[in-house]
Symmetry: C2
Amino acid sequence: MKFYDCATAPSPRRVRMYIAEKGLTDHIETVEVDLRGGAHMTAEFRAINPNCTVPVVEADDGTRFLSTQGCWRYLEAAFPEPPLMGRNPAETGRVADLEWWADTEGFMAVAEALRNGTPRMKDRALVGPVNYAQIPELAERGRQRVPRFFARLDELLDGREFLAGDYFSVADITALCVVDFAGWLKLTLPETAANARRWHAAVSSRPSAAL
Amino acid sequence: MKFYDCATAPSPRRVRMYIAEKGLTDHIETVEVDLRGGAHMTAEFRAINPNCTVPVVEADDGTRFLSTQGCWRYLEAAFPEPPLMGRNPAETGRVADLEWWADTEGFMAVAEALRNGTPRMKDRALVGPVNYAQIPELAERGRQRVPRFFARLDELLDGREFLAGDYFSVADITALCVVDFAGWLKLTLPETAANARRWHAAVSSRPSAAL
């Protein structure tokens, strides 16, 4: 298998961590894609992923998965242990809810703030092959949403070791990547968010978080 | 089980269709939530779903799933037949890729156009408990993205009965809901999109699409 990654980018980090939690790191060849240098926009990379994004996972038969969701779902079905998306139907639904929440309320808010507010991302307000102009109000809205994400994260972790309960899941992966990605905006978990800070220290100490 | 629905809304339609495709319609009690009347913003409904959204699925033990992804994943694990999210690891990853694409490139583009451009949605630019002001440029960007979604949908359906191949999946559900939701903007599949039009007629004729 191959994993198209970019070591500094938050999106492929979600799959990089997942691969490490599955114990698959040494079984997958990593191909670094230089996003800063524009390698994802080249004809060569478009032939791999027409969406011009990483992560991409390529199975041994050449089949490729082009989104975080696609990479995760393929790997979860092919390598079920340890389960990172729930161990029974109720957990499976709960993890999907929480992961979706962290993605839409957290990851997208930070991404909108950065992509619409950073001069070097001019005309790159959305990922993908098409250029879209930045919308300054969207950058501002993204920044406003991040503290609300932090507050809700803290509530959700009240009395829970991990987001879904007593087991680590993809919901924790996405939420950790959101918190660290928000650091790019200089937005950090407030001192008062004791549950979220305890959780952040714990998940950050996992070997998978250091990759 | 209970299903919190709104008969006229495109988001719960994704779960309504899914429930019908599973043959579960007669086994789940539907609770209609009057979104136009603001029933989703009441204290009563917030106790059910603090995100103030439908769909919600409630299992027999009272456990609730609060997002389309959560509802689907719970039901797919609890009622595997017929499989609507892939029949093996490669299909599972492929369906997740396609569904994610239809959701982010299609559903979100239409939703952004409507929520940011419709006078009656003033300050409701995002779903959820918090009000956000409309951003007119985001409405315009949403409208620009829809024809690109249609064009890509047509390419993806070239030589394929359904989005993932020869089997109906949640990717078809989301894409169908996007095409019909885009009708609210008076944006329709162009005459030239022969593959997408053939597919749209076929999936629209399924009994689940009429509910």
